[in-house]
């Protein structure tokens, strides 16, 4: 098995290679099948790994070759498959494979399919490389590779400049995070002169005692990298725009895998983070804030995919929250379930949007759009799981686990409240969307589109998974299997949880909130449909007028809050980015005009004109007058004689 490890990232990369080399000769079907087979190969290898890797606690390792050899430092292209990475590769390759299948039908009409599948495969390879890397250098390679592919796929329809710019924005924004990550890596390297992860962890644990400043700085830099990739505040701006890409891409890259790379990174580096409670708390805090931010922003969206984008942001916020509270296992747990239900949502959304010729607006989709039962069902399942409808959905279990683990952490109560609030909002916005989409009284009866089989299967599978995936880990204090935490326990120390009494109370609240949210969402949706023809402010006022119950007031407040957040984003952060870029350009222009031309070239020309002046002066002396020449000779002679007297 050790020797087969390379196949996991290798297969998709090979696929990409074949596509780029022979793509010209292949038809659509061949390319698509080839790409899917590459993904399948990776997935099968992972299953193989499960068969004989899952049992033993010893990580599988393979050194493919020595990447570079500098003195005694020889970073290798080495793969390491412990349980953490096993989880990741399973999710990535599994979801990846499904989305390849889905794309076969989805992209059938597009002429640029070669580029699409090339980058999709490349992305898969890069992502698998990222999670399998046994040293930070290789990890960084995968990290940048997936960034590149995301850039290329966001701007897939590059002829629309807005989309092209969206790709650029994503790439550059994440690059800022990557810069800090790289600096963190340099720091580690300059300290320990190695980048191999196992060695590094030993070195860290023995050389750095906790709260050491270096550790804090390094951890912070790596955290910054994670923030960039995972679209957390303040680097989250790129993700909503990233929806410019095709829906499967959004599902794979911007929901299931790439954006969770940050989570993986922090989980992977947890020995470092555990040294610095401060940074750990920051992680949690940022996570919490992001949860709130994402959820509330999602509340006000009208573009279907943007709703999902914001919800992704907030869901990843949950994972960070868990990481910050040291509940790494649960963070991963949520990562997995989220991968399932969020990609389910995205794929369904994609299907709906494509079926209604690229209509994104939920109101119009609701009023005029048609959809099949399958879409309806899948969306419902996904929404339920996202909202964490108690007991029956996977989302519930992972979220519960996180919430209970949050409580005992420092300022846990506050964080818990925020998180719970987030959960509440989540169910509101997702079900608002759901109701707007599917329960539309005055729907214009349109032909309900069907989904062809190849597109349907992934939906089925994901739907099942997003229900059942939760049952591997029952919340604290429940009688039921805890496969997940037990299975990961020698990777991570088990998460603490408060005394059972508190736990039950918390769980009660946390599981009631989503249901509550669904109710609110239902009402809200009705209101929106009712108040659809009138502007939003009026509608609010209507809300106020209608039933002055406690909840409605709350809802109105939430709307305000949501708009406030939208405002913040649109005004502050985007505007700031614009400002920065503009200032940068101005400065650069100054350098060009001011210095380059002003000083350097002018100096040069000054020199030249000086020479020219000298030439003119001397040249006037050459006036062709015999006596002058004679005089010159005499003066010369006098000068020479004068030398002796002097």
């Amino acid at each position: 098995m050790n020797q087969l490890l390379w196949l996991i990232p290798g297969a998709p990369i090979l696929g990409a290679l074949i596509i780029v080399l022979l793509g010209g000769f292949l038809r659509y079907r061949h390319v698509a099948v080839l790409a899917s087979c590459a993904a399948a190969a990776a997935f099968l290898t992972v299953l193989l790994a499960w068969l004989n890797g899952a049992s033993n606690t010893q990580p599988l390792q393979q050194t493919v070759y020595t990447w570079m050899a500098v003195g005694d430092w020889r970073p290798t292209v080495g793969l390491m498959l412990d349980r953490l990475s096993l989880v990741m590769v399973s999710v990535v390759s599994g979801v990846g494979f499904l989305i390849h299948l889905y794309s076969i039908a989805f992209m059938a009409k597009d002429n640029d399919f070669r580029r699409y599948y090339f980058f999709l495969n490349l992305f898969l390879g890069g992502m698998l490389l990222l999670v399998l890397a046994d040293n930070l250098l290789l990890l960084y390679l995968g990290w940048e590779l997936v960034g590149l592919c995301s850039f290329a796929l966001i701007g897939f329809w590059y002829r629309d400049p807005v989309r092209a710019s969206a790709g650029r924005k994503a790439f550059i924004t994440t690059r800022i995070g990557d810069l800090l990550l790289a600096l963190g890596i340099f720091l580690l390297f300059s300290q320990f002169n190695t980048l191999s992860l196992p060695v590094l962890f030993d070195a860290i644990s023995e050389q750095w005692q906790s709260n050491s400043q270096l550790a804090a700085i390094t951890a912070f830099m790596i955290f910054a990298g994670a923030i960039g990739k995972s679209a957390q505040i303040p680097l989250q701006v790129w993700l909503p725009d990233a929806m410019a890409g095709p829906s499967p891409v959004s599902a794979l890259i911007h929901a299931a895998t790439m954006v969770t790379a940050g989570v993986y990174l922090i989980a992977r580096m947890h020995p470092l983070f555990e040294l610095t409670p401060l940074v750990q708390w920051t992680v949690a805090a940022i996570g919490a804030v992001t949860v709130l931010y994402g959820a509330s922003s999602a509340l006000a969206q009208n573009d279907l995919k943007r709703v999902l984008a914001y919800s992704t942001i907030s869901q990843i916020g949950y994972m960070f929250l868990a990481l910050g509270c040291g509940a790494y296992a649960f963070a991963l747990f949520h990562l997995v379930t989220h991968a399932f239900f969020k990609s389910l949502l995205f794929l369904t959304a994609g299907a709906i949007i494509q079926a209604n010729n690229d209509e994104h607006d939920i109101h119009r989709l609701g009023s005029h759009g048609g959809h099949s039962l399958l879409m309806h069902g899948c969306f419902l399942v996904g929404a339920a799981s996202l909202a964490g409808i108690p007991v029956i959905t996977a989302g519930f279990y992972s979220k519960e686990a996180i919430l209970t683990a949050v409580w005992p952490a420092s300022t846990g109560q506050l964080l818990w409240v925020i998180a719970a609030l987030g959960a509440f909002l989540t169910s509101i916005y997702i079900f608002r969307t759901y109701f707007l989409l599917f329960h539309n009284s005055q729907k214009a009866d349109s032909t309900s589109p069907t989904i062809n089989g190849l597109m349907a299967w992934p939906l089925y599978i994901l739907a099942i998974l997003s229900i059942t995936a939760g049952f591997v880990e029952f919340p604290a204090g429940w009688s039921g299997p805890r496969l997940w935490s037990t299975w990961l326990e020698n990777e991570f120390s088990a998460a603490k949880h408060p005394p059972l009494a508190t736990v039950y109370v918390l769980q009660l609240i946390a599981s009631l909130l989503p249901l509550l949210g669904v109710g609110i969402a239902f009402l809200l949706a009705r209101r929106e449909k009712a108040g659809y023809r009138i502007p939003l402010s009026d509608f609010l006022r209507d809300g106020w007028k209608f039933d002055a119950t406690y909840k409605i007031v709350l809802v109105g407040g939430y709307f305000k809050l949501a708009h406030f957040f939208k405002l913040i984003e649109s005004l502050l952060i985007d505007a700031m980015l614009h400002k920065m870029t503009r200032g940068y350009k101005v400065f650069a222009t100054y350098c060009r005009t001011g210095f380059e031309y002003g000083v350097l070239n002018r100096g040069l020309n000054g020199l030249l004109s000086g020479l020219r002046f000298g030439h003119a002066q001397l040249s006037t002396a050459q006036n062709g007058l015999l006596n002058r020449y004679a005089l010159m000779i005499c003066t010369g002679a006098v000068f020479l004689l004068g030398y002796w007297l002097w």
């Binding site: 780029v20 070759y65 020595t66 990447w67 570079m68 050899a69 500098v70 003195g71 430092w73 292209v77 580029r115 250098l137 960084y140 390679l141 990290w143 940048e144 590779l145 590149l148 701007g155 590059y158 002829r159 400049p161 092209a164 710019s165 650029r168 790439f171 550059i172 690059r175 800022i176 810069l179 790289a182 600096l183 340099f186 720091l187 390297f189 300059s190 940068y584 350009k585 400065f587 650069a588 222009t589 350098c591 060009r592 380059e596 350097l600 070239n601 040069l604």
Partner: protein
């Protein structure tokens, strides 16, 4: 085995003569001949590579013949790992330059070909010569053909650019000549042996200030060539006006001779003074990196943009060289190769675009990925490599350089890393403006033909190879690096002893 080194130099030279004399009016024959000669050269270089043992420390091949004994000038060539790789690069880029200008050079092909071969000979000599006067001879020898290449086949303001190029580089190299002479006489007075032999001069102990001045003389010549920040202003003009082949050779090889000079002569001959000078040099490197990146963003002319990006990249090289430790030196040397390949490829692509559309202005391009997917993809690859995408050539170099610099000073490393982000910004901006967006209709757009594709493919393979498996190259760089490192340690220990 040894005499092959001299063959490396004299083969192209004789080729140039042959072409001028025999086929100065027969374009077809001239093309065949020049390709033949350059490929033969490449084969010889590959052969030398094949038989060279990476483990061997010091020089794998040495040729020593008496030339002007009365002045202690010899015909002394030597090849160690560094020069081996650079010779390979040269031998590779010249045929590529020829293929690129196959159709783009409209008149006087034979003369053009002869000049290319002459340049090749000069550059080979520079990379091989170990006698200071011999080195200087080749150093000048490679200027003249380059001057004519720009001055005769260039674009609108070619004369201005050619003069600027020549006068800048020449002033620098003349200062170096004075330094060489100074070194010669000081060594002569100390030991009574008047020689320009590199190995002999290595162990000259120089009085402080004099050493510094001599070192500066050398540094001036190399800094102009590299080019280091304040003396860079010839480069953009030269690049803009030069024909494509000229740009390729300029960016791919001539700039490298400067960095090679630093590694081969400036540091080993004057370790103490170089060490004293290192902080300033590194600062210059940083300024170059950021300055080049800034200016690249606001260029309209692609060639100018790439020119400024080279200033930025070579800033990294200087930074790495003067950081003076394992990683940084390896990084610098690899980056020399990587930049050579990447930038030449980009210039080649720009040349192809220009052949089709007769413009280099970004504002006139746009959306070209649609009509020319192959070209667009290739450009993307090299752009990514230039912006330091891991897995591609430049990343290895830049990473090693920064990793090395970090150990000297974090702030320098951070500034350098900023440079990388800036690089991402202007390169993506360039790529988007040229390749993405609404297509700019022009009947001339046709995708790469086989010749162009194969040229770019070779370079692409190299970029991937350097990025994914640089180990074989790094092996050759080990012993040169060790030698330079050793100098550093010797000096520092010496200083400590002095302080105690």
């Amino acid at each position: 085995m040894m005499y092959w080194l001299s063959v490396l130099i004299f083969l192209p030279l004789s080729g140039a003569l042959l072409i001028v004399l025999a086929w100065h009016s027969n374009v077809v024959m001239a093309r065949r001949a020049v390709l033949l000669f350059s490929v033969a050269e490449l084969l010889i270089a590959l052969g030398l590579w094949w038989f060279a043992d990476p483990g061997s420390d010091g020089y794998m091949y040495i040729v020593r013949a008496s030339w002007i004994p009365s002045m202690g000038i010899q015909f002394l060539l030597g090849m160690d790992g560094l020069s081996l790789l650079l010779v390979l690069l040269t031998a590779l880029l010249i045929p590529i330059a020829i293929l690129v200008s196959w159709h783009s050079v409209k008149y006087h092909w034979p003369v053009f070909a002869a000049l290319l071969l002459a340049i090749e000979a000069g550059i080979m000599g520079v990379f091989l010569a170990l006698d200071l006067i011999l080195f200087y001879v080749f150093w000048e020898l490679m200027l003249v053909p380059m001057y004519f290449l720009i001055g005769l086949w260039g674009h609108e303001r070619r004369l201005y650019a050619a003069y600027k190029f020549f006068l800048f580089t020449l002033t620098g190299s003349l200062l170096m000549l004075v330094s060489i002479l100074g070194l010669y006489f000081i060594h002569g007075e100390q030991t009574g042996i008047y020689t320009f032999d590199y190995f002999a001069l290595l162990h000259t102990d120089l009085p402080d200030t004099t050493g510094m001045w001599l070192m500066l003389g050398f540094f001036a010549a190399f800094a102009v060539k590299i080019p280091v920040f304040p003396v860079h202003s010839w480069l953009p003009d030269a690049h803009t006006e030069a024909p494509t082949a000229g740009s390729i050779i300029l960016a791919g090889l001539l700039l490298k001779t400067g960095t090679y000079g630093l590694l081969r002569f400036c540091l080993p001959l004057f370790p103490e003074d170089s060490l004293e000078f290192a902080p300033f040099a590194m600062a210059l490197g940083i300024v170059g990196i950021l300055y080049g990146a800034f200016l690249a963003l606001v260029q309209e002319d692609i060639k100018r943009l790439i020119a400024y990006s080279s200033i930025s990249h070579l800033g990294f090289v200087v930074l790495g060289i003067y950081a003076w430790n394992q990683e940084s030196l390896h990084g610098a040397m690899i980056l020399i190769l990587a930049h050579g390949v990447t930038t030449s490829a980009m210039f080649a692509i720009v040349g192809m675009l220009e052949e089709r559309s007769h413009t280099r202005l970004l504002s006139r391009l746009g959306g070209l990925l649609l009509p020319m997917p192959r070209l667009g993809t290739m450009l993307l690859l090299f752009t990514l490599s230039a912006m330091g995408m891991p897995g591609l050539a430049n990343f290895v170099g830049e990473f090693l350089v920064l990793a090395g610099v970090y150990q000297i000073s974090a702030s320098f490393a951070i500034a350098g890393a900023m440079g990388i982000v800036a690089g991402a910004i202007y390169l993506l901006w360039m790529y988007q403006r040229a390749m993405l967006g609404e297509v700019n209709e022009n009947p001339a757009w046709r995708d790469l033909d086989l010749r162009e594709l194969s040229v770019l493919a070779i370079l692409a393979i190299l970029v991937l190879w350097l990025g994914l498996y640089p180990a074989p190259f790094l092996d050759y760089l080990q012993s040169p690096t060790d030698i330079i490192i050793e100098l550093n340690t010797v000096v520092t220990t010496g200083m400590e002893d002095a302080s105690h």
